[in-house]
């Protein structure tokens, strides 16, 4: 263990002397100090806090990620290229220990920086919240919508395949009637696209009902509905103020006498629909929230939400599956949620440092950086391509399947994007953290680490030409 700690220590010292690392450190310091100080927000108090959190955390994550990749590649390859590693491996220290120590060293230094930066941002946000003269109403909104950890409940999705099959049957009947050629596979794909589009679209005057399940029955705190609708098309530009009428399902009970007739008990028999008196005005293209009173949860943990498109210009609304609308329920404090975000970022840095070390175990510094960045880009692009439902030709199919195969090996780093969770007061679930750890650290990153260690152990260090 003495050798392990000695290499970690020397990794620290080498890191601090790296000019690129020093530059990134400066950028990090600027991000941490200047972003929260210079942000003006969207004019609202909760918007200010949200944007402060979002931008600061995103900047920290970006700078530290870049630094992790760069430094890990540099630390690993420079020792080999300068022959300093000759001196180390001619001592009784296995190369596996050297690899692990260097990885631990790079990760630890970034972990320490992450904790420092995150702590500065956290206390800065708290300080701003205390210092600024926000009204009680604004503070309450911040407490309920931003500086909180709320569990997210997504609406029960319709079975798109069933809907698509229904549409397909209609098309087939029509084709038979008109004696037209019918390509079942192609038609089914189109039906699926149509079914998705129908679900995503809310026509003017149309009533849409969302159902939520598995909510805690005994919950006495208010629920928050978070939604984002786009007017005319899913595009952040050309969005405007619009109107919608919201409602909810009130659980309905009847009194039921017991068999002996001495006592009565309530029996849930369904929901009564209640609509608001007037349409609400809201901004399309951004998230909005509505508080709901407690008591909407049925005895089987179900909640129903109703909505009518009341746009004055009679435009359709579009929503994305990831936007819900989501039902939010406070379960944790802001500090707890923030800490979870830092843990997820730590996991991200751990993976990036490991990938850098694995690549630089056998490659030179610039090649290793290029390989890691390419790997991460493949991860990002493959996610989108594998999720496509539109195919215009053979190229699309090839790209689709290549992406599917790539996703078995690459890590889509956008899955580690948690700044929105924190900024929106959404709880980073332990299940999500576990999933990230299992699927991306254990099943994707760890095999690469092991491969890197194996190659490092087998590498003929004497073949490297000294620089």
């Amino acid at each position: 263990m003495k050798a392990f700690w000695a290499i970690i220590k020397i990794t620290f010292k080498s890191a601090i002397r790296s000019h690129i690392f020093q530059l990134l450190l400066l950028v990090l310091a600027l991000c941490v100090v200047f972003i929260p100080m210079t942000i003006s927000g969207d004019g609202t108090a909760h918007g200010f806090i949200q944007i402060s959190l979002k931008y600061s955390m995103a900047a920290i994550a970006f700078v530290l990620s870049l630094s992790s990749v760069w430094l890990s590649c540099q630390i690993m390859s420079r020792d080999v290229e300068n022959y300093q590693l000759h001196m180390v491996v001619s001592k009784p220290t296995s190369r596996i220990v050297v690899w692990l120590a260097k990885w631990t060293g790079v990760f630890s230094i970034h972990l320490a920086l992450l904790f420092i930066a995150a702590a500065v941002v956290y206390f800065f946000v708290i300080w701003q919240y205390e210092r600024r003269s926000f009204s009680e109403m604004e503070k309450m909104r911040i407490d309920n919508e931003v500086m909180v950890g709320r569990r997210v409940f997504m609406p029960v999705l319709p079975d798109i395949d069933t809907l698509a099959r229904e549409l397909l049957a209609k098309r087939k009947a029509r084709a038979e009637e008109l004696k037209l050629d019918f390509d079942a596979k192609k038609e089914f794909r189109e039906c699926k696209v149509e079914a998705n589009a129908r679900f995503a679209e809310i026509l003017p005057g149309q009533l849409r009902r969302w159902r939520y399940e598995n909510l805690p029955v005994e919950e006495k705190r208010p629920l928050y509905l978070s939604y984002r609708f786009y007017v005319n098309k899913v595009d952040s530009s050309k969005q405007r103020l619009t109107h919608g009428l919201w409602g909810y399902g009130q659980p309905k009970f009847i009194e039921e006498k017991s068999e002996d007739g001495t006592a009565t008990k309530k029996k849930f028999i369904g929901f009564d629909s209640y609509m608001e008196m007037q349409p609400r005005q809201f901004m399309s293209g951004v998230f909005n929230e509505i508080p709901y009173p407690p008591g909407l949860i049925s005895p089987d943990g179900e909640v129903q939400v109703l909505f009518v498109n009341s746009d004055l210009q009679k435009s359709p609304f579009f929503t994305q599956a990831a936007d819900g609308p989501k039902l939010l329920l406070k379960v944790a404090t802001f500090g707890e949620n923030y800490f979870r975000a830092v843990v997820v970022l730590s996991l991200q840095l751990m993976i990036l440092a490991g990938l850098g070390c694995a690549a630089a175990a056998v490659l030179s510094m610039p090649t290793a950086v290029f390989v890691v960045i390419s790997y991460l880009m493949f991860g990002s692009v493959a996610t989108y391509m594998a999720g496509t439902t539109y195919f215009s030709g053979a190229g699309d199919y090839i790209a689709y399947w290549v992406s599917k195969v790539l996703l078995l090996a690459v890590i889509p780093m956008q899955k580690f994007e948690i700044t929105n969770y924190v900024a929106n007061g959404e709880l980073i679930e332990l299940a999500l953290m576990g999933k990230l750890f299992l699927f991306y650290f254990v099943l994707r990153a760890l095999p690469f680490f092991l491969l890197g260690m194996w190659l490092y152990r087998r590498r003929e260090l004497g073949l490297v030409i000294r620089k």
């Binding site: 700690w5 001196m87 009784p92 220290t93 296995s94």
Partner: protein, 392 residues
């Protein structure tokens, strides 16, 4: 006798072929060589640039893998981590972490040997003292001159008190005092039963300390054996004696002429090497307390490398054991006398060994230097003799 000693390195048909990107053979750096390094010997690996010395050393250290043949170090694969506990390595250039200070460098390499903090500190201090860098212990090694870097490199190679020391050009960049200290150190290590493998271009250095040499050229062994065997010229004789009177010299020449017939011979004054002269001058300067800003001559062997450490522990043990039972005055006297006798005996042994060593080396050196020249005739010899005798 050597054959009975344990094998440290054994190479059979050792071959190293460097290949290009497409795995096509590019160069055969080492070509089917067989050699052995046995416990307690000092072996010189000699050869011009590109002869395969460094490749061989790198294979012994497990930095390169053989393309053919077999190589074992301490009976195991050179890649085995365990064997490295017993190896010390000084590379041909300073591959140290430049931002670390001298003391940090030794501490770091000590940690790689899993030495305790106290042990690391003690050894580092002793080694710095030994290589004459105590006064720059807090200076980053990146600021060191080449000679100082060699010294700190040498110190790190000995932090684990290795049984097998691999020294790649150990004296390159060192001043004559440093060279002598390194050579003395190698001889001391040899005396302690350590095995040393030296590669060097400075052949005189190798000659001073090596028992055996292997000369490589083009990746093959061209000559191998003990230095006496390789360098002794049995076709010539040399007699060294105090300065002769002119008439005695004339008699000697007469006798030689009568016996050597037409063969050439030379008579001249023995000449000191420049190194010997230089060391005398510096030692004189030291005796006169002249100040220097460079490396202070170390030379004091680190306790853990010499027997002093063990002796002091033994004395300590003895003292502790005798705390309860104080020896009588007679016993103390006897003990002192015995110790003095032993010390005297050790001193004599060392001196004898040194005289023997110096005598044999000088003989070889003189024989080499004074090889008869074919074109020198007797009249030349007469001229020289006249010069020596002051033109008489």
């Amino acid at each position: 006798m050597t054959e009975n000693k344990a094998l440290i390195v054994k190479s059979v048909g050792l071959t190293k072929i460097f290949r290009d990107f497409w795995n096509r053979p590019k160069a055969r750096a080492v070509n089917d060589i067989d050699f052995e390094v046995r416990e307690g010997e000092v072996l010189g690996l000699l050869g011009p640039n590109g002869s395969g010395k460094s490749t061989t050393v790198k294979m012994i250290l497990g930095l390169l893998y053989p393309s053919g043949g077999a190589l074992s170090v301490f009976g195991r694969s050179p890649r085995a981590v365990e064997i490295k506990k017993n190896i010390g390595y000084l590379p041909e250039e300073s591959y140290l972490y430049k931002h670390l200070t001298a003391i940090e460098t030794l501490d770091f390499f000590g940690s790689l040997f899993n030495l305790s903090k106290i042990e690391r500190r003690q050894r580092s201090e002793q080694l710095l003292d030994m290589v004459g860098l105590s006064h720059v212990r807090r200076r980053p090694v990146g600021e060191f001159s080449k000679g100082m870097a060699r010294r700190i490199g040498l110190a790190q190679a000995m932090i684990n008190d290795p049984d097998f020391l691999i020294l790649d050009e150990p004296t390159s960049g060192l001043d004559p005092i440093g060279c002598k200290e390194v050579k003395d150190l190698i001889l001391l290590l040899k005396k302690r039963g350590k095995t040393v493998l030296i590669t060097s271009h400075l052949l005189s250095d190798v000659e001073d300390v090596c028992d055996r040499a292997i000369i490589l050229y083009g990746g093959k062994i061209r000559a191998e054996g003990s230095l006496n065997k390789l360098l002794l010229d049995t076709d010539a004789s040399r007699i060294t004696m105090p300065l002769l009177k002119p008439e005695v010299t004339a008699k000697v020449i007469k006798i030689l002429r009568e016996n050597l017939e037409d063969e050439n011979f030379t008579i001249d004054h023995p000449r000191r090497t420049l190194e010997e002269f230089f060391l005398d001058v510096v030692n004189q300067a030291k005796a006169d307390s002249v100040e220097t800003s460079g490396v202070t001559s170390g030379g004091r062997i680190a306790n853990f490398l010499s027997d002093e450490d063990k002796k002091s522990s033994a004395v300590l043990q003895e003292l502790l054991g005798k705390e309860q039972e104080q020896p009588s005055e007679d016993e103390s006297k006897r003990k002192k006398k015995k110790d003095a006798e032993e010390a005297e005996k050790r001193k004599t042994e060392v001196e004898n060994a040194k005289i023997q060593e110096l005598t044999s080396e000088k003989t070889v050196e003189a024989e080499k230097e004074e090889k008869p020249k074919v074109d020198e005739n007797l009249s030349d010899a007469d001229e020289k003799l006249k010069d020596l005798l002051g033109g008489k």
